[in-house]
């Protein structure tokens, strides 16, 4: 599954980011493999989402978030 499929308030762990234009920028925002992410909330009718990664908040578009593959934390 990918980041945009996460429910509000739920956590996951990044398993990888699709190579492409967004790759570099997402890495720079801490969204690289192994990072723990929490979906804080959706904005503008779910086209934007705010996630918490490494204790910092990041806003991203749904399409951009879809390139971030995640798995759900079992104890989460």
């Amino acid at each position: 599954m990918h980041l945009a499929e996460l429910e509000s308030g739920k956590r996951g762990v990044v398993t990888g980011v699709t190579q492409g234009e967004a790759f570099c920028q997402l890495c720079s925002l801490g969204l690289n493999a192994g990072a723990e992410v929490e979906l804080v909330r959706f904005l503008s009718s779910r086209t934007l989402l705010i996630v918490r990664v490494d204790g910092a908040d990041v806003a991203l578009r749904r399409e951009t978030a879809a390139t971030v593959k995640i798995r759900i934390e079992t104890h989460g």
Partner: protein, 620 residues
């Protein structure tokens, strides 16, 4: 692994070790690298471009004579973009025109340390003497985070120091390292191999922060609480508009009048000084050609400083990222993204630094689109023209009591015309010209903090320098050329009359093209000079009409319809050589600036023609 022992022998050796000549400043983007660079080099900086690419080459000299190169921000040594490629090449000593580096200052953000461990390991593998600087130490401590630099230095095998580039703490560690001294042994462990030896990192980077007892800072509670409002579907956009409206209020009420006063005062000084010079061609060149050019350029400075001041305040406080999120929705509709918000807002001051600010847009396609629409934003050079024409043609009638006048509304409409043209063009580019889908938008929402005066001032000075250098020099040189064209041929060593100059002849040629817009030859001549730099239209009109009141003369000759057509033309036409030059540089081809010029001129002409016809029909 190295240990932090300090033996007399190594102390002597490090003290006599030659200091480094060229030092590279490496690190990811937005970790305070440039703040540190500014602090180290002050005003002794040189900014140029690396050969063949649009990547900025910033180098500066320390007081000690050493050279510091501020490399473009990198995330890893496997480069993804042009500027990262350059950074890696410089790091490996393979970039033509740049010498080998003797040492590195590696800067990372202490509040996000775990993100940078991969980069730190890669940079240390380059085997150059490296000082690791954990920046934003003040913020790390303030937000209850912790790192033990000594433990980290032991793990990494390279000196490590906590600094705050913004506040200037921990700078003695940098000075000691650069001078080849290892004085502060409690922070910089002297390695057994000698103080300036290559680092020897052999540990797994994931473990490093554990060894350094790193504790991540907590996100501030205020930030989360305020973001509920700043990103609220209704309150968010309202707040954003309020901030921008406040910025424009300051600009119109304080900065623009101040600029006009400054420019007038400088012209007056020029006139009174010229009384002491003999009346020759040389005096005319110096006073009218050069001095008045400088006066008009400096006249924009208060407006530009004000706009950049507000933008930098919003940036440094952390709000700009929220504004980008708020704007993303609107921007998305025309195929842009929230990252374009800051450059487009800057374009209200001047398109040149705005176009340079588009480098922060990761998506190439969105960046190009932003570059192409930025000149539609009403820059400060359009203001004098608007002010002159509005004062001459629009009656000072009140609309809503004392709140709003007809003149102010006209001004707002002109801003709106520019904005709508920009949105229309973005939409057009999105559907027809540019390939690929607009989908990339991701931005960090940093903690809010009180803007720091030093950071804001330095950033404003930096952007204003861009304006003075890029725009100022172009305007000055072209101003001189136009001055010559409008005063030649000379008669018996005296300057000729503008009406019979070379420029007037060209004005005569283009007059037929202007007649459908209700404009005459005089306006045509001033439009020609405006293609160099918009604001020169005012001075040219004044010169052409001589002692007659320009407003009154225009009123008599072109009428309301012609004036409105002229305003619309000004709002839309690409009349700025400096912008064309910077677009050519940033896109690395002539294709885009030429296309932009042709498109904007055509759009301006058509819109202007329609305005003229409609106003005539309504007014008749």
């Amino acid at each position: 692994m190295s240990t932090a022992t300090l033996s007399p022998a190594t102390q002597d050796r490090t003290r006599s070790a030659p200091s480094f000549r060229t030092i590279g400043l490496v690190g990811p983007p937005n970790v305070g690298k440039t703040t540190l660079f500014n602090r180290l080099t002050g005003m002794r900086q040189k900014v140029s471009n690396y050969s063949g690419v649009t990547v900025e080459h910033r180098s500066g000299r320390l007081k000690s004579g050493q050279t510091v190169i501020d490399l473009p921000g990198i995330w890893s040594l496997t480069p993804e973009s042009d500027d990262q490629k350059i950074a890696v090449q410089v790091l490996h000593g393979k970039q033509p025109g740049v010498g080998m580096l003797d040492a590195l200052l590696l800067v990372v953000d202490g509040t996000q340390l775990q993100r940078y461990m991969g980069l730190i390991a890669e940079v240390l593998e380059c085997s150059l003497p490296t000082l690791l600087l954990i920046n934003m130490a003040d913020e790390l401590a303030a937000r209850n985070g912790f790192i033990d630099p000594l433990a980290m230095a032991r793990e990494l095998g390279t000196p490590t120091a906590l600094i705050s580039a913004a506040r200037g703490t921990g700078m003695d560690a940098v000075d000691n390292f650069l001078a080849g001294r290892q004085a502060a042994a409690q922070i910089l462990p002297v390695l057994q191999a000698g103080g300036n030896a290559a680092p020897t990192c052999r540990v797994d980077c994931g473990d490093l922060t554990r060894a350094g007892a790193y504790r991540r800072p907590t996100h501030s509670r205020f930030t989360r609480a305020f973001d509920r409002w700043a990103l609220h579907p209704v309150a968010g956009p309202v707040l954003c508009i309020l901030f921008i409206a406040a910025a424009f209020q300051i600009m119109f009420r304080a900065a623009y009048p101040a600029g006009t006063a400054l420019s007038n005062w400088l012209s007056a000084v020029g006139t009174s000084l010229s009384a002491h010079l003999p009346a020759t061609v040389l005096r005319a060149i110096v006073v009218d050609g050069i001095w008045n050019g400088i006066a008009s350029i400096l006249g924009f400075l208060p407006t530009i400083l004000c706009m950049f001041g507000v933008i930098t305040l919003l940036e440094d406080s952390g709000y700009m990222a929220r504004a980008a999120v708020i704007a993303d929705r609107t921007m998305g509709r025309v195929g842009l993204n929230g990252r374009s918000f800051l450059p487009l807002l800057s374009a209200y001051a001047c398109a040149v630094p705005a176009i340079m600010a588009t480098r922060a847009i990761a998506s190439k396609r969105d960046r190009l689109a932003t570059i192409l629409i930025a000149p539609f934003m009403t820059c400060s050079a359009r203001l004098p023209v608007y002010a002159l024409l509005i004062a001459a043609f629009i009656p000072a009638r009140k609309l809503l009591g004392d709140v709003l006048g007809l003149q102010a509304v006209t001004m707002m409409l002109l801003y709106l015309v520019g904005l709508l043209a920009a949105l229309f063009t973005a939409k057009l580019l999105n559907s027809k010209v540019l390939e690929g889908r607009a989908a990339l938008f991701a931005i960090e929402l940093p903690n809010y903090r009180l803007p720091r005066l030093r950071t804001v001032l330095l950033a404003v000075v930096d952007r204003s320098k861009v304006f003075l250098k890029q725009v100022g020099t172009v305007i000055l040189v072209l101003n001189l050329i136009v001055w010559f064209l409008s005063h030649m041929p000379f008669h018996n060593g005296h300057v000729g009359d503008v009406g019979s100059s070379y420029l007037a002849r060209v004005g005569g040629w283009i007059e037929p093209a202007l007649r459908p817009l209700g404009l005459n030859k005089v306006v045509g001549i001033s439009l020609l000079t405006a293609f160099v730099a918009r604001e020169s239209v005012v001075s040219t009109l004044a010169t052409l009409y001589g002692s007659v009141n320009t407003g009154a003369a225009l009123r008599a000759e072109i009428g309301l319809a012609g004036a409105l057509a002229l305003l619309v033309f000004f709002a839309l036409a690409m009349q700025c050589t400096a912008t064309l030059a910077v677009v050519r540089r940033e896109t690395n081809s002539w294709k885009w600036p030429l296309l932009q010029f042709g498109y904007m001129t055509a759009l301006a002409y058509v819109a202007s023609f329609l305005t003229y016809r409609i106003v005539l029909a309504l007014h008749a």
